[in-house]
């Protein structure tokens, strides 16, 4: 189990769930226990200058408080209902305006990248937030590998449809598959990553196993989970929440304290995990990533392009 990263890591190499769940117990009794080798097998990553130095939420917080309607609408539903989901084997169909379209095996994709730890703020459109230590790589690396054609302007993503493993998909809550999209320059931005894990562990099912998008300056719903399809397009793709209610959920959905959701304010947020009396914090423009991304929107009226 102590082999280095060679791009051939499979799901068999992942620390068994029972072990990471018992981590605290394991650490407490580590001296006496003989399993230290297995429990310590983290996904090797390199640190990133893009990481925030804010304190991350705990693994428990990040994995028990999720919006992933494929597994139900309550925050606890994804952790509760995603046990039967099988993220292995996995492949992503990459099509549209690319030089090398095709079905890419996840192991193959991971063979061509360096995994980084990216500790990002995560701001939900519901006005709560977390800090999450993702494991991932820049989406640009993958897009460059498949060759984006000059006519491509947008990238569309789709979540897997597997109602037999995803109980939420047995209801017409949203129009499945869940769809998201980015403008090409947003997709190519170095902050935009494909995440395959968190806290050095393979991505838990409830957080979008085995691979998801993370766009830290946009509301969380843009960071689509369990991706099976990436399409390069010349026009703006339809996106799930926008299809459901265009007035409330724009295509861009950049975190913006000055543009309220029609039904609630986006001026401030509650950092999940702070307990009963955690202080509400002001939401920064672009979730605090303005220095890096504000330039993408020069000349755009963000009250119209919300």
């Amino acid at each position: 189990m102590t082999k280095g990263f060679n791009g051939k890591l499979g799901w068999a190499d992942v620390t068994p769930k029972a072990h990471w769940i018992n981590r605290r117990g394991l650490i407490a009794g580590a001296g006496a226990m003989m399993v230290a080798g297995t429990a310590g097998a983290k996904i090797p990553t390199v640190p990133s200058a893009f990481s925030t130095d804010e304190a991350p939420n705990t693994f428990e917080e990040i994995t028990t408080y999720n919006n992933f309607y494929e597994f139900g609408t309550a925050k606890e539903d994804p952790a509760r209902n995603s046990g039967a989901f099988k993220p292995d084997p996995w492949s992503i169909e990459i099509d549209g305006l690319v030089d090398k379209p095709g079905s890419y095996d996840l192991a193959d994709i991971l063979g061509g990248v360096t995994l980084e730890e990216r500790i990002y703020r995560f701001r939900c459109v519901e006005a709560w937030s977390m800090v999450i230590p993702w494991v991932g790589f820049e989406l640009a690396t993958l897009l460059n590998r498949v060759g984006v054609q000059p006519s491509a302007k947008y990238v569309a993503f789709e979540t897997i449809v597997r109602p037999e493993e995803m109980p939420g998909q047995r209801r017409e809550l949203l129009e499945w598959p869940y769809r998201e999209g980015l403008r090409l320059d947003e997709a190519m931005h170095p902050l935009t990553i494909m995440a395959t894990g968190l806290y050095g562990e393979a991505m838990p099912n409830q957080n979008g196993a085995p691979i998801r998008l993370v766009v830290p300056w946009k509301y969380g719903f843009k960071s689509i989970k369990s991706i099976v399809r990436i399409s390069l397009m010349d026009r703006m793709p339809p996106t799930t929440w926008n299809m459901l209610n265009a007035r409330e959920y724009g295509f861009y959905s950049n975190v913006n304290p000055n543009v309220d959701h029609p039904r609630w304010s986006q001026a401030s947020e509650r950092r999940v995990g702070g307990g009963l009396f955690a202080k509400r914090i002001d939401t920064p423009m672009f979730n605090g990533y303005g220095e890096q991304v504000a330039g993408l929107y020069t000349g755009q009226d963000l009250t119209k392009d919300y």
Binding site: L173, W264, L276, R280
Partner: protein
């Protein structure tokens, strides 16, 4: 059957409703102390209190049609149920003000005026104030039974506003708020329809 139930109920004083009615709160406090409210206890408390308030409003509305259609008479418990509803709605509002939005008055005021779902919830709360204040025998005497009864029809309005408040705040269309709203509308219709038919 209904006679048997009504006879048995004679031994249950309304005080029992108050005692049973605050038990959920005790349970919620226990869950909180025991760390069982998950990683976002504020939302859990807020939503739970609001849902109980709505359930109590529905329970209060059930009593009249229950008597009319089944003969089971729970009218003497209705004051307790209504006051408990107001108790929980007040705690729900207080949770929002203190723990959630944390007395940021500018944002609170903007929410009440601009956010329809908060407007609806706040209006429901305000509508319940005169009901709670007059839920005593002295008020019935002072207002006279007729005026008192008319005033308390505000309950219909409060219940509908409360259910709309719930439906309006969720994303997509989960079943629970839709069910509450349909229930409340049906219960209000049981009042309006017989009157119109007369």
């Amino acid at each position: 059957m209904d006679v048997a139930i009504n006879t048995a109920l004679r031994r249950v004083p309304p005080l029992a409703i108050y005692i049973v009615g605050v038990m959920p709160l005790a349970w919620l406090v226990w869950l909180l102390v025991d760390g069982q409210l998950g990683v976002d206890p504020v939302k859990r408390i807020e939503h739970q209190l609001g849902e109980w308030a709505l359930q109590l409003l529905v329970a209060g509305l059930v009593i009249a049609p229950l008597r009319r259609y089944t003969g089971i008479n729970l009218v003497r418990y209705r004051r307790a149920i209504g006051l408990l509803a107001f108790f929980y709605v007040s705690l729900h509002l207080a949770t929002w003000l203190v723990l959630d939005i944390q007395l940021r008055w500018a944002e609170i005021w903007a929410d009440i005026v601009k956010r329809p779902y908060i407007t609806a919830g706040f209006v429901a709360f305000v509508a319940m104030i005169p009901l709670a204040v007059t839920s005593n025998n002295a008020s019935i005497r002072r207002l006279g039974p007729k005026a008192w009864q008319q005033l308390h029809r505000l309950t219909y309005f409060a219940a509908i506003a409360g259910a709309v408040h719930y439906l309006w705040l969720v994303k997509a269309w989960p079943p629970e708020p839709i069910i509450y709203l349909i229930l409340v509308i049906l219960l209000v219709l049981t009042r309006i329809l017989p009157r119109a038919a007369r």
